[in-house]
Symmetry: C2
Subunit: 401 residues, 2 copies
C-alpha cells in the first residue's frame, strides 16, 4: 500500500491536513482522490511496461470528471463501458481514436453514438456486427471495431473471472472466425482484438501466464482477420490489496512477460500495438472515503462509532459488492494517526439496516464524536458503485486534491 503523508498525527491529502480538507469540502462524508498518488502510480506502471506498450485507463474504475481529466494526459487512451462514460472521456479531451467501448449489452443508440464519435467498438456478439453495419451505412461512417474474445482459459487467481467457460462477455474463441468473416463482409473497419480474463488479480505470475495465453489466442485467431491487426488489448485485471491477508502485486513477472509478448507480437503481427487497460490499479489506492463520527454508543459491552457515512456511499466497504464473507477494508481515525490509545470498535453508518457497517470489531485509535473515520483503498468502485439515493441521504461529494 502506497501510503499517504501523516503530519502531527493527522493524515494529509494533497498536502492538506484531513480536518482542513473536511472544512474545505464543507461537509462530511466525502471522497478525496490524490493527484500525486495517481501520478506516482502511473509512473510506476510506465516503468514496468516495455516502451511502446500502450497504457489505457478504464474509466469505470473512477469516472469523476476531474479524475478522468487528470489521468487522460498521463495515459495513451481511455476505455469506456457505456455511452455515458464515452461522454466523460470525450469531455475530458480524449482523442476518439484512442477510446474503446466494451460492454456485453450495448444499446443500439449507444452503438450509434460510438460510431458518430469515431471510437473503437469492442464487439461482443454477432448481433453487434449487424447493428453496426446498419448504423455505419446510415451515418456514412465505417464503424471501427475490435473483437472481444471470451478466452478458452481462465485467469487463475483473479478476484473476478471474466473469461473462460460460459460467459456473457465477448465471443467464444471458436466462434470468432465466423464473426471476423461477418465483420469483413459488412465492411466494418476491423482493427484488432480485446481479451480480458478477469479482474482484481494480485499474483504477478498468473497475470504473466494469462498474457502469454491471451497472445497465443490472438495469434491463432489472427489467421482469420479481414484486415491487418493494429490493436491488441490484453486487458488488465491488476489488483490492489484490500485485506490484511493480501499483498501488493509484484510487477516483476508481469514486466518480463510483457517484453516477451511484445517481441513475439512484433514478429508475428508487425502492424499491431499492444495495449493494456488498467482501472482500479491506477486510481484505487489514491482515494479515501471520509466520514465523521456522530455518536459513540456502547451496546452490550461493544463500542459502536456511528458515522454520517455508510454503505449508501461505499457499498464495497460494507461488504455488499461481490464479497461472500464481509471483511474490513483498511480503516483509520484520520485525525488520530498513531495515537497510543486504541480500542476495538464497530464503525457503522446512519442507515436503519444492519448491513451498514464500515468496520467490524476493528482495532482503531480511540475516537470521539467529531473525529474523522477514513476508509482507504477507496479510489475505485466507490462513489459510482454505491446506492447513493438509499434512504434519502444526500449524495456524496468527491474532490481531487
Amino acid at each position: 500500500m502506497d501510503r499517504f503523508e501523516v503530519n502531527n498525527g493527522e493524515l494529509c491529502l494533497g498536502g492538506l491536513p484531513l480536518s482542513q480538507l473536511a472544512e474545505r469540502v464543507g461537509q462530511t462524508p466525502f471522497y478525496a482522490y490524490e493527484r500525486q498518488h495517481m501520478a506516482r502510480r502511473v509512473a510506476a506502471v510506465r516503468a514496468a511496461l516495455p516502451v511502446g506498450v500502450g497504457l489505457h485507463y478504464a474509466v469505470k474504475a473512477n469516472p469523476m470528471a476531474a479524475v478522468v481529466g487528470f489521468v487522460r494526459p498521463l495515459v495513451d487512451g481511455l476505455d469506456v463501458a457505456s455511452a455515458g462514460e464515452m461522454k466523460v472521456a470525450l469531455d475530458a479531451g480524449a482523442d476518439p481514436r484512442q477510446v474503446s467501448f466494451a460492454g456485453p449489452g450495448k444499446r443500439e443508440a449507444e452503438l450509434r453514438q460510438a460510431v458518430a464519435a469515431g471510437v473503437l467498438v469492442n464487439l461482443e456478439s454477432m448481433r453487434e456486427v449487424g447493428l453496426l453495419a446498419q448504423v455505419s451505412s446510415q451515418l456514412g461512417l465505417p464503424a471501427r471495431v475490435a473483437v472481444r474474445v471470451n478466452p478458452d482459459f481462465e485467469l487463475r487467481g483473479a478476484g473476478m473471472r471474466m473469461g473462460g467457460g460460459a460467459k456473457p462477455f465477448g465471443v467464444d474463441a471458436e466462434r470468432v472466425p465466423a464473426v471476423l468473416q461477418a465483420v469483413g463482409q459488412a465492411g466494418l473497419a476491423f482493427e484488432g482484438f480485446h481479451v480480458y480474463a478477469g479482474s482484481q488479480n494480485l499474483q504477478g505470475a498468473r497475470i504473466a501466464e494469462a498474457l502469454h495465453q491471451s497472445l497465443e489466442l490472438v495469434l491463432r485467431l489472427a489467421e482469420h482477420v479481414p484486415a491487418p491487426v493494429r490493436h491488441v488489448n490484453l486487458g488488465g485485471g491488476w489488483g490492489i490489496p484490500y485485506f490484511p491477508t493480501e499483498s501488493a502485486l509484484d510487477l516483476g513477472p508481469v514486466s518480463v512477460a510483457l517484453l516477451a509478448v511484445q517481441a513475439r507480437l512484433a514478429q508475428r503481427l508487425p502492424s499491431a500495438r499492444l495495449v493494456l487497460e488498467l482501472g482500479r490499479y491506477l486510481v484505487g489506492e489514491a482515494g479515501v472515503y471520509v466520514a465523521r463520527v456522530l455518536d459513540r454508543k456502547t451496546s452490550h459491552g461493544q463500542v459502536f462509532l456511528v458515522t454520517d457515512g455508510g454503505l449508501h456511499h461505499h457499498l464495497a466497504a460494507s461488504g455488499n459488492f461481490g464479497q461472500v464473507i464481509r471483511r474490513n477494508y483498511p480503516v483509520a481515525i484520520g485525525n488520530r494517526m498513531g495515537a497510543p490509545d486504541r480500542e476495538t470498535v464497530t464503525v457503522v453508518g446512519p442507515l436503519c439496516t444492519p448491513l451498514d457497517v464500515l468496520a467490524e470489531r476493528m482495532e482503531l485509535a480511540q475516537a470521539q464524536p467529531g473525529d474523522l473515520v477514513v476508509v482507504f483503498q477507496s479510489g475505485a468502485y466507490g462513489a459510482s458503485a454505491s446506492p447513493q439515493a438509499f434512504l434519502g441521504h444526500p449524495a456524496c461529494p468527491e474532490v481531487l486534491v
Copy 2:
C-alpha cells in the same frame, strides 16, 4: 404471492399489457408499481389488525413520491429514516403529528429539521437528547420524542436482526431509564416507545412472539416515563417471499397476538395507541422491474439473455444486497407468460462485471431480442437501493400504474 393479471399470454399492470406500458414509459428498463395491488394489500392488513391499531408506512421501502402520495391516505402515518425522506412524507401531505423519524446516525441539521417540522423523533442515544434540548430551546419548540429500545431479545426467524445483543440501533433496554430521566430533565415532549426487532420475517408465530415480548419490555420501561405514554410503535418486519423455498406470511397468529397485546396495553397504559410500521410488506409485491432482451448469446452451450437492465438498477435481485448465497428472484418473460417452449437461461445485464446477473440458470419461456424480462417482488428496496450511476448508464424511470 398476490399475482398480476395475465391476458393473452401477456402480463398486465394497472390494466395495461406490459408491451404497451413499455411504450408508454418510452424506454426500458423501468420499474412499475401497481396502485390496485398496494390498495389490496393495505386492505388485507387492515382486516388483520384490531380496530384502533395504527398502521404506518415505512417510506424507506419505496420513497417514490407518487407511491408515498398514494399510500399516505390509506395509512395512519409515515415513518422516515432521514430528513430527505421526511421531505417526501411532508410533500405527500402527511400530518407531521403522524410522522416519526428513526435512524442511528441523525445529523444535527436533520434533528433541527425534524423539530421544526414537528415530527416525532425516535431517540437512539443519549447524544440525541442533548442535541434536541439545544435545538428545542433555540427554536422555541419542544421536540416530540419516543425512545427507540434495543430489545433484550431477538426476533427469531428474521431475515435481518435489528435488535438483541450488541446493536447500533436504539438504546439498550437497561439504559433506557437513564435516557427517560434525561428526556424529562431536558423538557422534551415525551410520547412513547419504538421497538423494532428485525425485518423480512415470514413466520407469523415468531412475529407474534416478538410482539408479546416487545409489549412486556415497554410495560417494564413505562415505569420510568416522564409523561404518559401515548404512542407504542412495535415495528413491523413482516416479510414477503422471494425464493421458491419461502411461503407467504400467515397473518393469523399475528392478528391473534395483536388483539391480546392491544387489550393488555389498554389496561396498563390506557392513553397509549399501538402502532405498527410496515414497508416492504405493503409495497414489495406490488412492483416489478422490467428490462428488454438486447441479445441472445450462446457461450459454451449456455444461453445468455443479455438485457438493458441489471444490478445498477436492481442490486438486490443480483444477489449483492445482504444475501450470502445468490438466489434467483422470481423472473418471467412478461410477453410470453405461459408459453409452452421453455429453456434454461442465464439473464444478465449490460455491465462489464460478472456480478451483473438477474437470473442464473433459470427455466423461462424461450425469449428473443425485444422480449421483456420481468423481475417480480421488486416494489421495495429496488430503485432507491441500487447503484444507479454505476458504469454511466441512465437512471431508471419508475411509474405508478
